[in-house]
């Protein structure tokens, strides 16, 4: 599902958090969103998910203005994993994932075998089947994060918005989650802090101070110069002896 942001601006009480951001992701693509803390990544995610209305500009989902869809219609198309979401309820791991089926259920369309299958599949994808009956409060940070991702997958979205999905994850699960997202047929927008992981996505957009400073293929957008300037460090491109893809190495300026 194609997503496009057309000159989005967003301000809270006169303070501009995003100014004139335009970007798009084609169906099936994975777009990485990078930028320093406070650069507006999460804010942009919320606008793309329709959780906040832009002050100016439009979000188009499959060429349709997001503002014209109902909450339920949006939830059947877009799933978002926010940076932080916690609960004090004594809810089981499995029921967290089951929440993902909410947009597909109604009084006349109750829970069915298909819903159970989707939940099982999502749990398997994030390797959390063994934890299904555990209580939320007893799970580790990374296990909770994987459940949030599974909940989003159970939503069967056409567009997946992940705000720092690799946060709290060990390196195995970081790589496997990103791999899974890239292999899914859905379009994904992923906020990342690991620039080398961003290099493995289809496209990259770099935000700084609420503005888009670069976007395009990873090689175009994440040049050592751009990275150095935006993050206030010195970045260098290095290749390892095995001749693999180039990656970035960093030093404080």
């Amino acid at each position: 599902m194609r997503i496009e942001a057309r000159s989005l601006s967003f301000s809270v009480r006169g303070k501009a958090l995003l100014s004139d951001v335009s970007l798009s992701a084609q169906p099936g693509e994975t777009l990485a969103l990078v930028g320093p803390n406070g650069s507006g990544k999460s804010t942009l995610m919320r606008l793309l998910a329709g959780l906040a209305r832009p002050s100016q500009g439009d979000v188009l989902l499959a060429e349709q203005p997001l503002a014209r869809l109902s909450r339920r219609e949006i939830a059947q198309r877009i799933a978002i994993v926010e940076q932080q979401a916690d609960t004090a309820e004594r809810i089981t791991a499995r029921s967290v994932v089951e929440l993902g089926r909410t947009p597909w259920l109604s009084a006349l369309r109750p829970w069915s075998g298909e819903d159970t299958r989707q939940v099982d599949k999502a749990l398997r994808t994030v390797e959390m089947e063994a934890f299904a009956q555990r209580e939320w409060a007893t799970l580790s940070g990374g296990e909770r994060q994987r459940l949030h991702i599974a909940r989003a997958l159970a939503q069967q979205p056409g567009l997946l918005l992940l705000d720092e999905p690799t946060n709290h994850l060990d390196i195995h699960h970081q790589l496997s989650i990103l791999n899974c997202v890239r292999n899914l047929k859905v379009t994904a927008v992923v906020a990342l802090h690991d620039l080398n992981q961003a290099l493995t996505c289809d496209r990259v957009a770099v935000l700084s101070g609420g503005r888009l400073v670069a976007s395009g293929t990873p090689q175009q957008a994440l040049t050592p110069d751009t990275v150095s300037e935006v993050f206030g460090i010195t970045a260098r491109q290095v290749r390892d002896a095995g001749g693999g893809a180039p990656h970035l190495s960093f030093h404080l300026a």
Partner: protein
């Protein structure tokens, strides 16, 4: 099986489980009292009154059962169910385990309305205490709702906390008004009467109250049960609910108004009975877990049975004297809840 049939089947199965328990509780409420009456006597009265049979029953017993104990048990059940369900809904919506039906200022407003009518003489004696209490409750709730709206406009993330804070402000204000009216014009007897009423009192309950309380509790329960899935979606907060397709604002408004109306009516009939709306939801959660599709019927049933039981105890515990039911709910409820809390902790994985 079609979806609609499955739904109907679910409803029938639920009713089959709940109705016998409720009927048993109401029967107990009609049997037990200062004079104990046999169950077949209660059934004979029911047959006489409902089917017009002329079974021979002592008219005094018939009067006690039909005019006093039955309406009392039915209203206690409706009220217990409504308060428990209201507690469930507000705890989920406000994401606050301490939320209870009175958190939005309703009980404080009801007491102000009640003293305004009975003590300050508002309406020149033409208005009843219930009428005053009901309007006071709605007035206070309106105040809280407007304050919350003004304080929370634009930021959905903090909205739940703002409602709770507005509720505290409203409760303080109306409690102060109540105290002011009592201090200014009440004599000791009136003050004691009001205290008594505030702790909950079912002795004035008659059939017209049943026709108000029972249908309202049923309708309110259905509205809340209909929103069970939406309430589940609030587990991770309002943003997460919105992302799951829930029209957050509409659900909040519908449910808060439905629960406020239920609470206001119940308070105006029986006074503000504490404890039920706070603790029964937690007790029901220990029984069936946090999912609202099972929690809603479980809380309603537990609340109804609990309050019918509490009413029975309040009538017999001190011979010749009726204890305010709120005293009983807290005296039985607090230790019972303590046991559940400790047990639940031990069995937690």
């Amino acid at each position: 099986m079609s979806a609609a049939a499955a739904l109907a089947w679910q409803g029938v199965r639920g009713a089959c489980l709940a109705l016998p328990v409720l009927a048993a509780a109401v029967l107990a409420g009609a049997m037990i009292g200062e004079t104990s009456l046999a169950p077949d006597l209660v059934l004979s009265v029911l047959v006489n009154k409902l089917a017009g049979a002329g079974l021979p029953v002592d008219p005094v017993d018939q009067g006690i059962i039909w005019s006093y104990r039955l309406p009392r048990a039915l209203v206690a059940g409706a009220c217990g169910a409504a308060l428990a369900v209201t507690g469930v809904v507000l705890q989920a919506l406000l994401r606050n385990a301490l939320a209870d039906p009175y958190i939005l200022g309703i009980s404080a407003g009801a007491s102000t309305g009640a003293v305004a009518v009975t003590i300050a003489g508002l309406g020149g004696g033409a208005l009843s205490l219930s009428f005053g209490a009901f309007n006071g409750a709605l007035l206070a709730f309106g105040f809280v709702a407007i304050l919350a709206r003004a304080a929370g406009a634009g930021s959905s993330r903090a909205a739940a906390a703002q409602i709770v804070l507005a509720g505290i402000a409203g409760s303080q204000l109306f409690n102060a008004l109540t105290a002011f009216i009592i201090a200014k014009s009440a004599n000791a007897d009136q003050a004691r009467g009001i205290m008594f009423w505030l702790m909950g009192n079912l002795s004035g309950v008659r059939w017209p109250d049943v026709w108000l309380a029972v249908p309202l509790a049923l309708a309110g329960w259905m509205v809340c049960r209909f929103h069970a899935r939406a309430l589940d979606a609030f587990t991770f907060g309002t943003d997460s609910a919105a992302a799951l397709g829930i029209p957050v604002r509409r659900v909040q408004v519908v449910l808060i108004f439905a629960t406020a109306l239920m609470t206001a009516v119940m308070v105006s009939i029986v006074g503000s009975i504490g404890f039920v709306g706070l603790v029964i939801p937690h007790a029901a959660r220990f029984l069936v877990g946090p999912g609202h599709r099972r929690l809603m019927p479980a809380a309603a049933l537990t609340g109804a049975v609990f309050l019918i039981g509490a009413d029975i105890v309040s009538r017999i515990i001190i011979p010749g004297q009726v204890l305010p039911i709120g005293v009983v709910t807290a005296l039985i409820g607090a230790p019972a809840f303590a046991i559940i809390l400790v047990r639940g902790q031990r069995t937690a994985r």
